[in-house]
Amino acid sequence: MSSMDPIPRASKSDLARRWYVPQEIQSLRAYYPVVIFVASLSVVISIMRGNEDAIYSSMCIVFVHLVLLLLLRQLDHGTKNIRDGIFVISGIGLFLSILHHLDGPGLWIDIWFTTWMAVPFLLVPVAGSMPMVTLWVSGRLTVKAAELGLRMNRVMAEKHSHALHHLVLLHAVTIVALPLLWILDVAVSPGNSLGGGFMDEVTGEHFEKLVSSESFWLWTRNSFIVSIGTTLLGLALAIPAGYAFSRFRFRGRDPAMFAFLLVQMFPGVIILVPYFLVMKALGLLNTSLGLILAYSVTALPLCVWMLKGFFDTVPRELEEAALVDGCSQTQVFWRIVLPLSLPAVAVTALFSFLAAWNEFLLALTFNTSEEMYTLPVGLASLISSTGQAWGDFAAASLLVSLPVVILFIAFQRFLIEGLSAGGVKG
């Protein structure tokens, strides 16, 4: 065989034509179940609202979507009449969608539902009238065209999956961002109302009031003392414990690790009363130290397990090399293991800090005098005692989240490293 021979084409056995399905049709088939799911959700919502017209129209729409999916599945080389049927049914579906929307109350969630139900009725005919699809369903696809189509499919598949990913992410972002935007709106609106248009009036009065109030700064100070104290104490206990669990085999090791998890299996309320009695006996009610102790103990199991998991990934040969280089056991830990575990330590620290910063129940129970409130308890008191100061509350919530946001941004690099543990390789 000389190298000049033409490459035998797969087309000889007509493989390309047999394997080719336009990507538009493939994508629609793959993603259509999501549409049907959302449309069914709309039925459920209509039933819960008791809106009879909307129930019937949305049920019809689900049915039409099911028929469309069925027809899409039947679509094949040389099935032009099925394609034409799809056109007609899409038209009916579009009409039904408009009717359905008119039946509903027209909130933003209804607009969302309508979009999900109606857009496929537009997309399907558009996809169905693409030149390649038309060629395909009319059965006039040549082998060359099929090969071209397969090549185009690869590009298109990537684009379609990109679009879908962005669609999913957009939903996630909306779900996360909406409450935040809402609270921002409340915080900058004058007065204490929860309604009104978005950003119709803007004022800084709530922020000014907070910043000039003495108790806000007192609560902030308390929160910082408790959170930082918890972080330091928690790390001081969890790091040695995690290392010991990771490296040494001792009697009672496995039961001890299990016991740590056991504590996590009960809801926090169960330990509330015993904790209270202990704190009372120790005279630690209405002190920051009491909270620090309680939080450290609660955060400990997770911290120990997290650190143990990371220490496990530090190769033992590294420690042995350090021993040969003249380190003592303690030096091995401080100079080799700990520097390598900094990402995990950072994640653990952040976790303890957050848990303490956000904790409400224990703080509410133990520290009853107002000058010992932490921020979450103080915030709650804004609602109950002074006649529901929603504006102040919203502004304070934003201020309280600020340190957390700053911490996350500062630790971002560590967080990614720490959460994807196991990256330590010589």
Binding site: P315, E317, L318, E320, A321, A322, L323, V324, D325, G326, C327, S328, Q331, I336, P339, L340, V424, K425, G426
Partner: protein, 259 residues
């Protein structure tokens, strides 16, 4: 320099597994000894007991006539090269090399100028001067191997220990490093104990090979002596038959061309 003596050394693990059984072996001053055997034969354990990374259940290990059973690894005057190199990932190459010097105690610890000079000297010796400011992650496998060697050599150890140091390298690099290791030994002249399961490595590197199986020493002697006069069927199968196989394959491959 010094000699190394295993006197009736036994290692039994907590689960009852006998890794090394009553080993008697003497390694002469400046000798290159290769511990050879299949996996699980106790060769690594033997080496690690000499390093102090594994406790001796029974018997004595002597370096330069002194019993070292209870000395921590850092006090034994040894350097060790690990199979995975075990370079410290968070330190630069220079810091990796100098770590052992910086950890020395009291009067033994060289001053900073001296340390810097010795890092330079060692880097020169191994041809890694250009990599000193890099992190281990940025180096190729062969370069990491050199750094690992340098880290073991920089303290001027009395005994150099190597635990399958070449098994992570590709064939060509392995050949190169084999020559390099032998050259370094001849140049620096320290007593060397080298663990491997590779018969060719053992035959080409060693002054003397000691073959182990199931925790017991089978035979020791100059490579060719052991090959010519195998003491038992195990040696015949593990060493002689294997080498003969290689020779035969090579002859089959190249024998035809000459005709």
């Amino acid at each position: 320099m010094v000699n190394v003596i295993y006197r009736g050394v036994t290692k039994r693990y907590d689960n009852g597994f006998m890794a090394v059984d009553n080993l008697d072996l003497e390694i002469d001053d400046g000798e290159f000894l290769v511990l050879l055997g299949p996996s699980g034969c106790g060769k690594s354990t033997t080496l690690r007991m000499l390093a102090g990374l594994e406790e001796v259940t029974q018997g004595d290990v002597l370096i330069g006539g002194a019993r070292v059973n209870d000395l921590p690894p850092g006090a034994r005057g040894i350097g060790m090269v690990f199979q995975s190199y075990a370079l410290y990932p968070h330190m630069t190459i220079a810091d990796n090399l100098s770590f052992g010097l910086r950890m020395m105690k009291g009067d033994e610890r060289p001053d900073d100028d001296d340390i810097r000079w010795r890092v330079g000297e060692t880097a020169d010796l191994l041809g890694i001067t250009a990599e000193l400011e890099k992190k281990p992650k940025q180096l190729s496998g062969g370069q990491r191997q050199r750094v690992a060697l340098g880290r073991a050599l920089i303290k001027r150890p009395r005994v150099l220990l190597m635990d399958e140091p070449l098994s992570n390298l590709d064939a060509e690099l392995r050949q190169q490093m084999r020559i390099e290791i032998r050259r370094l030994h001849d140049e620096l002249g320290m007593t060397t104990v080298y663990v491997t399961h590779d018969q060719i490595e053992a035959m080409t590197l060693a002054d003397r090979i000691a073959v182990l199986n199931e925790g017991a020493l089978q035979q020791h002697g100059a490579p060719m002596d052991v090959y010519r006069n195998p003491a038992n069927p195990f040696i015949e199968g593990f060493l002689c038959a294997h080498l003969d196989d290689i020779v035969e394959t090579a002859n089959d491959l190249f024998g035809g061309e000459e005709e």
